[in-house]
Amino acid sequence: MKAIETKDLGKTYRARVKAEGLAASFRALVRPQWISVDAVRGISLNVEQGEMLAFIGPNGAGKSTFIKMLCGILYPTAGELSVLGLSPARERRKLAMRIGTVFGQKSQLWLHLPAVDSFTLLAAIYEIDNAECRRRVAELTELFGLGEFLHTPVRKLSLGQRIRCEVAASLLHEPELLFLDEPTIGLDVVVKQAIRELIARRNREHGTTVFLTSHDPADIEQLCRRAVVIDHGGIVLDASVERLKSDYLGKKLIDVRFGTPQRIPALPGVTVSSESGGQKATLTVDTAVRPIGDVMERLSMTGNVLDITINNPPMEDIIAAIFQKEAVR
Amino acid sequence: MKKLRKYAVIARVSLKNAVAYKASLFSRFVFYTVFIYVFVMLWRAIYKEGSVNGYSYAQLIWYLIFTEYIGFCCGTGIFSTMNEDVKSGAIAYLIGRPAHYVFYQFANSLGLLLLNLCACGLLAAVLGLVFAGPLPGFHISVLPPLLLSVALAVVINFFFLMLIGLSSFVMEDNGALFFIYQKLTFMLGMFLPVEFLPSWLQPVAKSLPFSYVYWAPSRLFVDYSPALFRALIPRQALWAAVSVVLVLLCYRGSVRRLQLNGG
């Protein structure tokens, strides 16, 4: 059995169009005008159990519509789908027992109460008996390091602590399939790393299938082996993260600041843009051509470096590059 | 002069803003109509049992239409605006502006008030004509003194609400004060004319500010006489002045506290 299986899955919304003005409002009331919007057009996708898949696309590409169909929130208008062997919209409750979700900023925790109270409610909803619930909460508390703030009202927690509780809450019923929508958004680097490790560990130890959408290339690079890129409701690219890395994620950005203006010599695989008369520069390094360490070494040899940071190019740039290249094929 | 112009501009912007929210105006209309319908039905039933204290049926319906009209016009949310400004600390920035906070708020609410007065006024007139017929003894020349009375009522209500809003400087939760004020104005004028109250309560009501929000202008409307005008307007003016002065004093005290203790 596959974790997710879709064939030509499509979703068309009927949206009401309404012209400005009071008269138009009344006309729309009597005879509404509709337009069709194809949010998802014929996506066929198979995900194996235990796989960690990155699902990428610009805003409005149809990502969330697709995920909502997988979770049983929306009825598809075309094609077939099966999630954990179930038909999501028709067997919504059965499916819900077996999947977990962390949807960005939408919290499933009660803001004014300690997280442990929300866990009690979730236990009732997911039919976990008291003893079992206590055992799992203890396990997650240990694993996620929730101990010190489990009994503090959620509104008083930091964002990082809150996300940790959030992910823990979505794991309480030990789902086989986990949907993560921007799980690390807004977190600092250290917390991001911690969250990633927790997810990876869950996948390793429980074989949990992970379906991840993220705008952070590091999330994708570190967690997933396979990436699917969609746009305009269809799949643009379905490839291994390895390939994505070498083709698109292989670029790094080095921001460097010098004490005195410097001229950086031209190197193959490195493009340079200087600012402030040579005191600041951004180097785009193609790591397939030139190792990053090599570039760092050469920079430090100038002996005048005040500050240096290495970044991934933003997701938007990567997606734009993918579209450019895949459109040519 | 320049100063006054500043507030006129604020009021004009807020009027434009209010006009832009057509949907909210529409829902106000619907709710106003529903309330009036219910009251008309109720009083029709009451008048079937006998007549009430010197008000004819038509007078009473017009009276209620008028009190509800003032009530709807005054619904500018100044109390919650002030509460939020104080609790969020935004007031610390607002007092730094080159406009007096109190008058800024008044000017800012004036737009919605004026829109309500005009738009709901038309609706009120139509509803009155439908449910009660023309008001006996009403003449167009009554309008100017009536408007004066309504304006004073609006000022009294606005500044008393502001005073309660200011109390959030010293009280954690001042919602109770708001409730009490609101219900007192309802009981001492909005639901019933003061003349309907037990005889021992009438002088008490007349010596308190609450009846001068709804009862005074509405009474003047349904039973206008120069003598009544001379009796009511000075009292309204007095309470209006008291409310404004109290707000300014409390505001100054609150600002001083704010500057001393921080937000």
Partner: protein, 262 residues
């Protein structure tokens, strides 16, 4: 069934705990509601002082009964199911997603998810009023309880039905508010003040009369047939409201409906 009772109980507990985090606000709101209701009772007291006897067939005692029943029924509805009034927002903004992701009945989960602080004041107020007006009349208390239970169900069902229209028409929040206003005004005045069309409405499409005015009549003169009919019709209405919601749910577009204001 048992599972959902457990969930409802758990939600109730969490709601109450949340409310108690803000104790003073809780007390103020509850107190404010009681005060607000008192101003209406004050009105009726004055009206009966002026006229005495009956208004539209109701004595002052009768008015106190419908007021107590309405207040407690409305209070109980909003202590338990305050979220019914929130359904339009959930539909239009796509917040219903969160409920659909959980393996339990959406309606139970939605309705019980929120409580209203002021509603506790309304609930208590009815009991206080009954204590003052009918402290020695057991039959009145019996019909009061029947009215409160049925009334709370009907208040919620009517509100839910109005907001469920949002599945079909887009933003129906105004219809929802208006409906709530209507049913309250049907309940707190003698029903005979209204014309036949409005009265027909309050015993059919918005059947709150069944839970407020019918118990009063049954208390004054018991009739088993009326009692059974009212009970049956009320429960049927609630079931239909639930079915209507479930049907509507199939049209849920998760916030992708272009909102049209109604």
């Amino acid at each position: 069934m048992k599972k959902h009772l457990k969930i409802a109980a758990c939600l109730f507990r969490l709601n109450l705990a949340s409310a108690l985090e803000y104790r003073s606000s809780f007390l103020t709101q509850a107190f404010g509601m009681a005060l607000s209701n008192s101003s209406f009772i004050f009105f009726w007291w004055i009206a009966f002082q002026q006229l005495g006897g009956y208004i539209a067939g109701y004595s002052f005692q009768d008015v106190l009964f419908i007021w107590a029943t309405t207040s407690s029924a409305f209070g109980l509805a909003n202590v338990l199911f305050a979220n019914a009034a929130n359904v339009t927002k959930l539909i239009v903004s796509g917040e219903l997603d969160a409920y659909l992701l959980q393996p339990c009945n959406v309606l139970v989960n939605v309705l019980c998810a929120r409580t209203s602080l002021s509603a506790y004041g309304d609930l208590a107020y009815g009991f206080i009023l009954m204590g003052l007006a009918y402290h020695d009349t057991a039959a009145a208390w019996l019909w009061f309880f029947v009215g409160v239970l049925l009334g709370s169900l009907l208040f919620s069902a009517v509100t839910l039905t109005a907001h469920t229209l949002s599945f079909y028409w887009g933003d129906a929040s105004m219809i929802g508010q208006l409906t709530t206003e209507f049913v309250i005004n049907f309940s707190i005045y003698p029903d005979k003040i209204y014309g036949p069309a409005v009265r027909a409405l309050m015993y059919s499409l918005l059947p709150i009369g069944l839970a407020i005015h019918v118990p009063l009549r049954l208390f004054r003169a018991f009739s088993p047939l009326t009692a059974l009919a009212a009970l049956g019709a009320s429960l049927l209405y609630c079931v239909l409201a639930g079915v209507f919601f479930s049907r509507g749910l199939r049209r849920y577009e998760s916030g992708n409906i272009m909102a049209t204001r109604l």
